[in-house]
Point group: C2
Chain length 687, copies 2
């Protein structure tokens, strides 16, 4: 029988079994059978333990131990802020850094690394704590309380830092316990211009030529720490087609979203954000075009904003892809059909998709206003509002607090960031805040309970200036006094920014609470769907990313690009090609090289494999993740995905989604030939 093309397509796409090397697997449920079937090899428990305990979590990223003396490898862009923070006598970001001796290694205050030591599945005891017949709110609260108890018990038992992890959108609850390292020192990094060659232009792009690595060292008792496990650095690297594993901490994905949730993102969430970003980018571009001074003023902000625009456009494009979304829809429809065909499952989750779809409709209305009253356009004002909210939430019983304001550590973190103050002077926020107030005014009117205290009869521009130009909020002593004085001091202050924050916080918090009530419907039914999915497909599926340790497998692999096949590797030849081809006049001098790198073309081995691509399934948070081979040897360092990987937030497209990694051989070549780091090469290769 010949099926028409579309029928064939849908038939093959709807298969729930993963056809490709898709998946960010927890270390406790590696798809061994699938690996054996496809590659004739799968890791055993010793391999998994070794790789897990060599892996580290950085703030917002990943890393790994790579020597017996506690040397740690991560991306330059994961270490960037810390490198900048310790650049006191010299500019390590601009000029790079290599410690020639252990004594020269620079202590990084505030940097904590975490190694996943122990995990325990507490789903059963959490579910037992839910009273029979409890409604959604009661059930949620019972779960939260049970989890909190379990976490506390584990912390006491292990003496480790334990965190709750909700997997499969509430289908499973785990406690993850970490050994933490608080004495971390900077050992080496290349120049920013080489680490991020191509700058934000080349972000999410392939081919790439980025030496995006930095080396730190963990100390204990003022001595280099000797980790029980560290990755051996491969001397041979990979070749096209080789099997690779990524171990690291993917941040967040939404692949288990129902189609209704994805459509909400597509139609409700992204469009206004993208419009707003686009407007701001256009405005900043105008300033940049106005002359050298204008460009200097806005270039960093513009670069960041264009990058957000690129990323968000990529997520949105993923949702607009008709062919891929048909695949997502077919998978969902198959699951719904199977659930409805089974009376037990039907009772559990038969109407969950409809319930979520209805909540999304309410949520869409809520979101529209929410987007108009958020404070993304003034980070300073938001910092103040958020701190005030945290003080008020702290006065409530824990169960009644908003998500994110429940635990001591959450509240402490908010207080600390208030104490540290805003990154930029509040007056810098005036243009974006004005722009945003204009939009809010048009949509909500002057009398809206949120807008009215802000505008107070003034134009948006004047209102923004009133709040943000004459404030002493940037003064650390002022903020310290507010912290000491508590809510009373805040209520009494005449500082325009803080006073305004105090006025608008109640409405914002009430509004947020309303949103949470929609969310609890979604949370409950997501969990029901997750349970039904387990019943239908078994545990042979992976949970969405939660910034916890995962393993992904794949191969070095090309993809179709601009009419040809993308090259699987680049070399240093490619870096010089790019530098010569663009010339220094490119915007932001994106493809310029520091002088010693410009000269190094005569000494460096130009053939050295530099960056490469694999079809490993990763996402933001995996930055700094090691790529290892079957022998658990370190062959690469993940630092980005191609532009098509952005759709990976919602689904994995095996044809186009690629991980981009620094080749282990290029780091050795760079340390040896250009950076003056031979002693470090000896350390990592000497073994």
């Amino acid at each position: 029988m010949r099926l028409p093309l579309t029928a064939l397509l849908l038939a093959s796409l709807a298969t729930p079994a993963l056809r490709s090397d898709e998946g960010m697997w927890t270390f406790s449920s590696i798809p061994v059978a699938k690996l054996m079937e496809k590659y004739g090899w799968a890791p055993d428990q010793a391999w998994l333990d070794h790789v897990r305990m060599s892996s580290l979590r950085f703030p917002g990223g990943s890393g790994s131990f790579v020597s017996k003396d506690g040397l740690v490898l991560t991306n330059h862009h994961v270490g960037h802020n810390f490198i900048q923070a310790v650049s006191k006598d010299a500019d390590f970001v601009k000029d790079g850094f290599v410690a020639n001796t252990r004594e020269q290694e620079v202590k990084v205050p505030g940097l904590t690394l975490m190694m996943l030591q122990e995990t325990v599945n507490v789903t059963e005891e959490v579910e037992k704590a839910v009273p029979q017949g409890a409604n959604e709110k009661v059930a949620t609260e019972a779960r939260v309380a049970a989890i909190s108890r379990a976490q506390k018990a584990m912390s006491e038992k292990t003496g480790l830092q334990c965190e709750t992890v909700s997997l499969f959108q509430g289908g499973e609850f785990w406690i993850y316990c970490y050994k933490t390292f608080k004495d971390v020192r900077l050992v080496a990094c290349p120049e920013y211009q080489v680490a991020a060659f191509g700058k934000d232009d080349d972000n999410f792009t392939w081919p790439r030529h980025d030496l995006d690595f930095s080396l730190f060292r963990v100390y204990e008792d003022d001595k280099p720490y000797n980790p029980q496990h560290y990755l051996t650095w491969s001397k041979v690297g990979t070749k096209n087609g080789d099997l690779t594993f990524v171990t690291g901490h993917p941040g967040s994905t939404s692949r288990l979203y129902t189609v209704a949730q994805m459509e909400n993102d597509r139609d409700v969430i992204y469009p206004p954000i993208l419009r707003n970003l686009q407007t701001n980018v256009e405005r900043l571009r105008e300033v940049a075009r106005s002359g050298e001074e204008g460009e200097r003023q806005v270039s960093a902000q513009l670069m960041g904003m264009e990058n957000s625009l690129k990323a968000l456009t990529g997520y949105h494009k993923g949702l607009l892809d008709v062919e891929q979304m048909a695949r997502v829809r077919a998978t969902e429809e198959e699951l719904i059909a199977k659930v409805k065909a089974n009376p037990n499952l039907n009772a559990l989750a038969g109407d969950s998709w409809d319930k979520i779809a209805n909540a999304m409709k309410d949520y869409a209305r809520y979101t529209k206003e929410n987007q108009l009253i958020n404070l993304g356009s003034s980070p300073s004002l938001f910092l103040a509002v958020n701190y005030i909210r945290s003080l008020k939430e702290a006065d409530r019983p824990e169960d009644d607090r908003l998500q994110g304001y429940k635990t001591e550590s959450e509240l402490t973190r908010i207080s600390e960031s208030f104490e540290n103050g805003p990154t930029n002077d509040p007056s810098n926020d005036i243009p974006t805040f004005t722009n945003y107030l204009n939009a809010a005014q048009k949509a909500l009117g002057d009398d809206h309970p949120y807008l009215s205290p802000i505008l107070n009869g003034n134009s948006p521009e004047d209102a923004a200036k009133n709040a943000l130009s004459n404030t002493t909020f940037n003064d650390g002593n002022f903020r310290k006094k507010l912290i000491e004085g508590g809510l009373k001091a805040i209520a009494a202050t005449k500082d325009p920014l803080v006073a305004l924050a105090y006025k608008i916080e109640p409405y914002m918090t009430d509004f947020r609470r309303m949103g949470d009530s929609f969310r609890s419907v979604v949370t409950d039914h997501q969990a029901r769907i997750a349970k039904a999915r387990f019943e239908v497909y078994g545990h042979d599926v992976y949970p969405d990313a939660t910034f916890t340790l995962r393993l992904s497998y794949g191969t070095v692999e090309t993809f179709p690009m601009e009419g040809t096949l993308a090259q699987p590797y680049t070399t240093f030849y490619g870096m010089y090609d790019r530098a010569e081809s663009w010339g220094p006049e490119a915007r932001w001098a994106s493809w310029s090289l520091p002088e010693r790198w410009d000269k190094a073309r005569n000494t460096i081995n130009l053939k050295t494999p530099y960056n490469f691509i694999t079809n490993n399934d990763i996402t933001g948070g995996n930055s700094g993740s090691p790529l290892v081979d079957k022998n658990a040897e370190l062959v690469g360092l993940a630092f980005d995905g191609n532009i098509h990987s952005l759709a990976g937030t919602y689904y994995f497209d095996p044809k186009m989604n690629r991980t981009i990694a620094v080749d282990c051989r290029s780091i050795v070549e760079a340390l040896n030939t250009v950076m003056g780091g031979k002693h470090l090469v000896e350390e990592i290769l000497g073994r």
Copy 2:
């Protein structure tokens, strides 16, 4: 007033004035005012004459004089067949070639170059020849006769080779007269592997690294010819943003098609062709995968077919692009509105769009059968059918003959190609012909007047074997005898291929004639629209490409690619990057280098600009066209377009459509450092 986004978009897109560097302009109507406005510079008549008379037409391509001794520059791929034809004692295609002395230059039999010496617009006298009130058929015949007279008169007057050129789809008629050069000798070419680095994988791709040039020399009276005009070779080349001109012979575009015609291409023409190509590609890929012998057998054919698939998919994608097609539609709607608003124009062309749309409907039905009875799947059988048809057409009065069979030279060309015989042995056609007969049988049934003599009760496979395996058609003597014996000998032959051709030719030719009658409606109304367009917009538009000399202007310019900006240039660094990155195991060894090039990395100046991109508007036939700067100096050599340029068949997308050229500096560097061509560098740079 704030317009919604879509309205704004359409408003700005509908402007008939060309916003970009679009256009393949005839030398008699360069948009001087537009150039002055945008670049503050435009060519004068002397510049235009100099560039025109330095330009040459190759069979299927373009070229230019580049020295006072008649040295001619074109692409390697334009010269390829001639290089192959003269490779007798050595393999110039594989190993490259440089003549060390004039004596070593190799005469290329059958290669004629043409230089456009004189043009004359005969539209007025042609239109005068059409009797008042004549119907479409009579009008067309009257025009054809008048053009034929004008062409003959010009040939006699000038002694040059004169051709008729119909511009603006019959809106203008011209006679173009060429000086021809018949003694052309091969002077130099690099290895095919370097000229076409990346092979068909990289075709229509950017970035590129192709040394796609060859040098020939024109002789007269056995001495190097001294052309009146030749291009000076630039020593400095271009930089990003520089103004560039392309002079050459774009082959064919369909930009003046009505939307109905484009939709016919999109919905009727391409889908079956693409399906068929896809099927054949899959089949050949299977053979290639079957083993080394299989791969050897089909790799050349597969490469060509994948390339066609890439190109046709690109054309089709252009038509499927909703945003761009909305622009095309808006432009058409604006013209229709203006025509209908003017009583004279309305009488001339008011219903022409509808007439064409209706003809397209008839034509769609016709096309479906036509695609089933064409002989693309057996070039040998087609050669025979076409020759038989030409003999029969020759017996008719010239006015009654099919297009393409009217003039003596057309008929002679068909006879010559029959005499030369098929490129491949007819038995090679069996698999594709079988495949095609299967499809035709399913669609038309065994009793169809075309299929029935072919199948004659057999299965498609046996029928294909019967016709193509026991034929002596590949024997030159046999074909010669058939030519000598004329139709009688053909009617009498027992050769299965020729006998079959004789049987099926009548139906095929009748069917073709039917198609021509639809076409005459289209032709007439296209001409009416063209005239109306002149009235509305003046002559500030350019005609579709007709493989006649055109000038295009533009600048060296990047485009958005895979999340970043495409580099405007490549260098030799990039070629070695690609070679090292892919390794020799890539399919077809696409990115492998010949040994002397592999070694040359230590001597060649790796920084040398190699290929570059511009937004000049070109298409197939422009291969080998020189790029010149304001000083009319040669700065590059066009050899391809990026994947987005394929949509250029239907419209020019200024954001994405790019010309790809070899940089003049890389040819000098290659001749000097690798190819042993210092004496040629002296000739072109010595001046």
